[in-house]
Symmetry: C2
Subunit: 178 residues, 2 copies
């Protein structure tokens, strides 16, 4: 069994947020706003849109002003799928998509937000703990560090990165949602 596709969900998230978009619009939003966390090229997007049409998650918006530009909108079917995606709990496997999910949540008071923050905090706290244990185990003295300096470097970088992310999560966890 191959891994389930994720691009459809991201497209649904965009359509749900913006109402109606053409393929071109999506490409632009991907490139300008989400490229830090996610990327897609048009040669991947257009076939996916056709497939989603067939599966009934999106539909062509009637009355387009331009013959060439095709505007899509989400269907009830699609909204259902999207909500299911949102409510899937975060784990190590799908964590790379958490930022994209966040991006699609426009309402500051959404209960999904604090859920995500809590879960992410636990997950990355665990990760930080594991990284620190590895540093402790592998690099107990200066000689071991000098013996594999590159390895030591990227381990310290990973630890820094996780710490910074946990700080950010902590800050947002403690914020009131209004």
């Amino acid at each position: 069994m191959p891994r389930p596709r994720v691009l459809p969900f991201i497209i649904l998230g965009l359509l749900n947020k913006n109402g109606s978009m053409s393929g071109r619009d999506m490409i632009k939003e991907f490139k300008n706003e989400i490229s830090e966390f996610w990327s897609v090229s048009h040669s991947q997007l257009y076939p996916e849109l056709q497939r989603m049409l067939e599966e009934g998650d999106i539909e062509v918006r009637k009355g387009s002003s331009n013959l060439k530009v095709i505007n899509y909108q989400i269907t009830k079917n699609g909204i259902e799928k999207l909500n299911q995606w949102f409510s899937e709990s975060i784990n190590l496997k799908n964590d790379d998509l958490t930022s994209v999910k966040l991006y699609c949540i426009v309402d500051r008071r959404s209960p999904l937000l604090s859920e995500i923050f809590e879960k992410e905090f636990d997950l990355h706290n665990q990760k930080l703990k594991h990284l620190k244990e590895r540093r402790q185990m592998l690099f107990q003295n200066q000689e071991q560090i000098n013996n594999e300096y590159g390895h030591y470097l990227i381990l310290t970088r990973a630890i820094r990165r996780e710490k910074a992310y946990l700080d950010w999560l902590k800050m947002n966890k403690s914020k009131k949602n209004r």
Copy 2:
């Protein structure tokens, strides 16, 4: 023209660092040490090893104790390719591999290190500047933030991440190399 392969270089880096390894050894090192930054599965690795054999970058080490385990070592050809990879200058396109490159550099006094730190600093300083400009442009008041809260969140996260990385780079740039 398809994108050039990168897995061969990483394999060369490992072999250069460790002397002689079997496919299994590489898998283990990938999983245990580099998985934070890079991953590979055996079904990708083994065909790659065969291809590299054909291309003359690696060779089978003679006198293996075990009939089944195949131990590889790097050839002169391979060392040349590896050094060329190391000396390629870092840019936005190949930046995702910088951590793996670092990992393969064992010598703390290697001149490559400070080169990488300098270049990375410039690159990510630029990135941070761009992110801050976008935040400035898109979110000038609380209303705009509340209107697209998820977008605001991931933008602030990206800014934090870049700041943390720049701090780490600054720390390592200023370290004496002995």
